[in-house]
């Protein structure tokens, strides 16, 4: 992983590292933003992409002339369906999520605390008018992987001692991937398990407003 100060590369690096976390044959739900870049980095690994609106086996975007506005993903983008895919309704789709049948969700976060509790749907003081499937994913899937930039654009810490943004639920994340580091969470404790090339543990410490155990 390379910590270049370039937003696009940064996002690609995060997506690439997140792709490595996914297991062969897993059912994966990808959130908006960085997670949507993951399919480019899967290589030979085959996973099943689940879309909240009722598709298991989501394929890449169609060619321009092939767009079907009734074949979309949860970001409302036109997609294709891969062989072996299945189509179903929203109630069953969220039964899959809430019931623990989706192996992994890779989602963005606005903030995460040192226990792994996360905030990914609302900003304090702003209108709270959208939540979508965020809380269902957090509550239900087997493994939650967070992908986000290590700090905000203005350099503020997003990894904090305790959340100041509205929580997405009791469920803790399992893995956090930023352009600088990879953390895991276990029993309310955060572990630094990887640093990007050229990044020091000291730098991680400075940009992280939370306690973590170094476990490189």
């Amino acid at each position: 992983m390379n910590a270049q100060n370039n937003a696009k590369t940064m996002r690609q690096d995060i997506a690439k590292r997140a792709a490595d976390e996914l297991g062969e044959g897993e059912v994966i739900n990808l959130g908006v933003g960085i997670p949507t870049l993951i399919p480019e980095y899967l290589g030979d690994k085959h996973v099943f992409l689940h879309s909240e609106n009722g598709l298991l086996g989501t394929g890449p975007a169609p060619e321009d002339g092939e767009i079907n506005p009734d074949l979309i993903n949860a970001s409302k983008q036109p997609v294709t369906e891969l062989p072996g895919s299945a189509i179903f309704d929203s109630a069953l789709s969220f039964a899959m999520i809430r019931g623990g049948h989706v192996d992994t969700a890779v989602i963005g976060a606005l903030q995460v605390d040192q226990t792994g509790e996360l905030a990914n749907w609302a900003v304090p003081g702003k209108d709270i008018l959208g939540v979508g499937g965020a809380m269902d994913l957090v509550a239900g899937v087997q493994k939650v992987i967070l992908t986000m930039t290590h700090t905000s654009k203005s350099g503020e810490a997003k990894i904090v001692e305790s959340l100041t943004y509205p929580s997405s639920g009791y469920r803790k994340a399992d893995v956090l991937i930023t352009e600088k580091a990879v953390f895991t969470f276990k029993d309310n404790q955060m572990y630094l398990v990887e640093v990007a090339d050229g990044v020091t543990v000291e730098e991680i410490g400075k940009t992280t407003a939370a306690s973590f155990v170094v476990a490189l």
């Binding site: 879309s51 909240e52 609106n53 009722g54 598709l55 321009d64 002339g65 767009i67 079907n68 506005p69 009734d70 074949l71 979309i72 949860a74 409302k76 036109p78 369906e81 189509i87 179903f88 309704d89 929203s90 109630a91 789709s93 969220f94 039964a95 999520i97 809430r98 609302a122 209108d127 709270i128 008018l129 959208g130 939540v131 979508g132 499937g133 965020a134 809380m135 269902d136 509550a139 239900g140 509205p166 929580s167 997405s168 639920g169 009791y170 469920r171």
Partner: protein, 231 residues
């Protein structure tokens, strides 16, 4: 035999009255009954509570009803697709009830399935469970959610048979089947009504006992989008 359930577009307004709670299918514009919504936008019906994942876009789908001021309250999971919803809420004339998308889907299905309330892990420990009952089962917290019935459900499918059995085009189904179950009166907008026996019993997604009326759509897919047929 023509379907006994087919009605004309001008009859739609007979079934919706001021103050109704109206379930409207669709995830974005896919699966949204655009023709039916257009017809309602032409009427004076008002004070509607709309249950739908989003509120369309400006002058598209449910956005028309919002722009007309026909909506009093919106229940859904994602309102930021239409800036007008955010503005109306800030101005204080639109009440908004935000629900996690899965809670909304399950709540609608529950209403149709005779289940008045259920417990869900989603939203426990968040602002969205403020003022809701929380209860532990096996040491974990769950939120009590009420079912979400509709006075009317407006849904969209691909084909109906003459009895009103429905099938969908790809991911068009989304909330539509659950809403058909939960609506006291259910009107389905379809591309085509086919003779009895043309749909396989196993492929039917919404069974005719859930569907009261059928109307033919005025929208078709052209260039990857939904386009209104100009007569």
């Amino acid at each position: 035999m023509a379907s006994k359930k087919e009605i004309s577009l001008k009859d739609i307004s007979k079934y919706i009255k001021d103050g109704d709670q109206v379930l409207v299918g669709g995830f974005g514009l896919s699966g949204c009954p655009l023709t039916i919504v257009d017809e309602i936008a032409k009427t004076d019906v008002k004070d509607l509570t709309i249950v739908s994942n989003n509120l369309g876009e400006p002058q598209k789908g449910l956005g028309k009803l919002l722009d007309n001021g026909q909506i009093k309250k919106a229940i859904g999971s994602y309102f930021t697709t239409h800036r007008g919803a955010v503005n109306a809420w800030n101005e204080g004339w639109l009440e908004i009830e935000l629900l996690p998308q899965g809670t909304m889907a399950e709540g609608i299905r529950a209403a149709g399935a005779g289940i008045p309330a259920f417990y869900t892990p989603t939203g426990a420990g968040t602002k969205l469970s403020d003022n809701k009952e929380v209860r532990e089962f096996d040491g974990k917290e769950y939120v009590l959610e009420k079912s979400i019935p509709g006075d009317v459900a407006l849904i969209r499918a691909h084909k109906a048979d003459e009895y009103g059995n429905l099938v969908y085009r790809k991911t068009q189904e989304n909330f539509n089947t659950a809403m058909a179950m939960a609506g006291k009166i259910v009107i389905a907008e379809v591309d085509e009504i086919v003779p009895i026996g043309e749909l396989n019993p196993e492929e039917i997604k919404t069974q005719h006992l859930f569907v009261d009326y059928l109307v033919k759509t005025r929208y078709e897919i052209e260039g990857g989008t939904f386009v209104e047929r100009t007569k």
